[in-house]
């Protein structure tokens, strides 16, 4: 059930009504039932997988909780008799046991994800190698990929790790944990929430609050505007170029890069606006996933502002544990005396970064283009970090540049284009084709053709282009204003203007949303991950 389907709109209406009508201690059960109904639309097979993840995580978290409880009770009971060394030794032993329990949970759940999502990719690669030696290879499996499995698996494994670390207490009620795993607005494209930040808001009762409801609905409509009016319209031109990439080389590649940046921004942030808006209308707070990413002046900054919750997950559960695991600490200390403090830290941090970005890439999809995309991001971050002393010298020489608006604009444009360039791996879906198209872009052939009307031969007419440009201008204006003030709070003080703007936005969605005969809006990009 896509967010852009009529079925979903009807489902949402019923869901909101049921939620507020069942206000009270057990209101969260309505959400759980609704979430499972939503997920059942994806197929009953998918339901089985989400149930397996819920059940296994519940068992593992309870085992972890029991182990932590036993450990604390033992230490408390023997506070006087154990010396520091004995206490440390006991704790290290208990932690090892706990870690083994955690590993069972992680292997089981990531194993399911790996088999379903990556086995076909692995077999295809093995077959390619066998093919080199003239062998026949294996049949490529065609397995079901449950909706949102990457998102709910990562979110739930984050919960398990937090229980293992003693950051959160294990949930005693399996139905409540089931809701955390399956909460319908965020199930298919995130944000990836932490248990500690989502659970309290998810389980507590929420009375109908007109302000929260209207704020939530405004954000939902804003999300639909971005998705249906801008993203799906831009997609038409992109698809024309991607259907025959060789015909659209040169400057068209640059055009594609810019269009895809607009499309993925409008699509993904639009989807997240719908998600957060729905939750907000029910009084539930979800983590923000974007913070004006295209104003970033560097790749590092961009990744602090784009898909924030995914970045946080990879940083907290992959990068930091790898960089601080004992063998890495020993490696760091070993290198320090030989190559210096900074260089030794780089060895460790870069190793952890490469693993993290490899996993980030493959998380996005079982294909080489995603892996190359992840590793290129890593390479850019490492190179810019290595060049940091040069930047510092440069800025010391030209101190006024840091506050200069044009220089800021130049840095933001550079980051936007660089990120767009490597993101195009996502469009062409083939590493060799992408590299060929990058090479072709350097010729800049076709600029005249595009400006001379070529842009109107990509499936869009002049009206579409005007709508896209106006849409981009509105997104830019809202982004600029929201950097300084909360747009909805400001409008709340002016109810008439707020109502006019909300209605105008809704009319735009209805009148100029990209529908057609037999309308079926395209899937949200992140649904497929």
């Amino acid at each position: 059930m896509s967010f852009t389907s009529y079925t979903f709109i009807a489902f949402l209406g019923v869901m909101l009504l049921a939620y507020f009508l069942t206000y009270g201690k057990r209101q969260w059960i309505t959400l759980l039932v609704g979430s499972y109904i939503f997920y059942a639309f994806a197929g009953l097979d998918c339901l089985a997988f989400i149930l397996i993840t819920t059940l296994s995580s519940y068992l593992v978290s309870r085992l972890l909780g029991r182990a932590i409880g036993r450990e604390r009770a033992f230490l408390e009971a023997n506070k006087e008799t154990l010396d520091k060394a004995q206490r440390k030794e006991y704790k290290a032993r208990s932690k090892k046991k706990r870690f083994r329990i955690l590993l069972c949970g992680l292997f089981f759940n990531f194993g399911i994800l790996a088999v379903l999502k990556y086995s076909a990719f692995a077999v295809r690669n093995v077959n390619s190698i066998i093919g080199l030696f003239g062998g026949k290879g294996f049949d490529v499996p065609s397995l079901l990929l449950p909706l949102g499995i990457s998102f709910y698996t990562f979110q739930t494994m984050g919960y398990l790790i937090d229980v293992y670390r003693g950051k959160v207490a294990p949930e005693r009620n399996i139905a409540k944990l089931a809701l955390f795993v399956s909460f319908f607005p965020q199930l298919v494209q995130g944000p990836i929430s932490l248990y500690s930040e989502l659970a309290p808001s998810l389980y507590e009762p929420h009375k109908f609050d007109l302000k929260k409801f209207s704020f939530g609905m405004q954000r939902v409509i804003w999300g639909y505007f971005k998705k249906l009016v801008i993203a799906d319209r831009v997609l038409i031109a992109m698809n024309t170029m991607l259907d025959a990439p060789e015909q659209y080389g040169g400057a068209y590649v640059l055009l594609l890069i810019v269009l895809y940046s607009v499309q993925i921004y409008a699509d993904f942030t639009g989807g997240i606006d719908i998600t957060i808006g729905i939750a907000e209308s029910m009084g539930i707070k979800l983590a923000e996933n974007f913070d004006r990413p295209f104003s970033s002046r560097s790749t590092k900054e961009y990744w602090r502002r784009w898909h924030i919750t995914m970045g946080r997950w990879f940083r907290e559960y992959i990068f930091v544990p790898i960089a601080t695991v004992k063998p890495m600490l020993k490696l760091n200390n070993f290198c320090k005396n030989r190559i210096g403090v900074k260089a030794a830290s780089k060895v460790v941090a870069y190793t952890a970064s490469i693993v993290t970005w490899f996993v980030t890439g493959i998380w996005h999809g079982a294909a080489w283009n995603f892996i190359v995309w992840g590793l290129l991001n890593c390479l850019i971050i490492m190179v810019s970090e290595s060049l940091e002393p040069l930047y510092k010298k440069f800025h010391a020489r030209f101190p006024k540049l840091a506050g200069n608006r044009f220089y800021g604009g130049f840095c933001a444009t550079r980051t936007f284009l660089l990120m767009g360039l490597i993101r195009s791996l996502d469009c062409y879906r083939n590493v060799a084709t992408t590299f060929r198209m990058w090479g072709s872009m350097l010729t800049f052939r076709g600029i005249g053709e595009i400006l001379g009307g070529g842009i109107l031969r990509l499936g869009l007419d002049l009206t579409d282009i005007v709508i896209i440009l106006c849409g981009i201008a509105v997104m830019y204006a809202v982004s600029k204003i929201s950097a300084k003030t909360d747009v909805r709070e400001s409008l709340y003080e002016r109810p008439v203007l707020s109502a006019i703007l909300t209605c105008a936005l809704l009319i735009c969605v209805i009148m100029i949303g990209n529908y057609g005969i037999g309308y079926d809006a395209s899937q949200f990009i992140y649904d497929q991950f």
């Binding site: 600490l329 200390n333 403090v341």
Partner: protein, 75 residues
């Protein structure tokens, strides 16, 4: 404390670690520095800082970091 101040000064000699209280928030310490500090604390104090303790509040000042080391050592 002096031992810790020496570690920190080795990374950024220009910073007064005795008084600065926003080492992370002001971007003085980056991820490379954190990796280096965690490994130095391991070798000099025989204390392992677990991932869940690597949060800005524990690294914003030398005092906060020393408190963390003491707590982890005593736990």
């Amino acid at each position: 404390m002096q031992q810790l101040l020496d570690i920190l000064s080795g990374l950024h000699p220009e910073v007064d670690f005795e008084t600065t209280e926003d080492l992370i928030d002001d971007g003085i310490l980056d991820s490379l520095d954190i990796v280096s500090i965690v490994s130095s604390v391991y070798s000099e104090f025989d204390v392992t800082i677990p991932p869940e303790e690597i949060i800005p509040e524990n690294f914003n000042s030398a005092v906060a970091l020393m408190e963390l080391i003491t707590r982890l050592d005593e736990e």
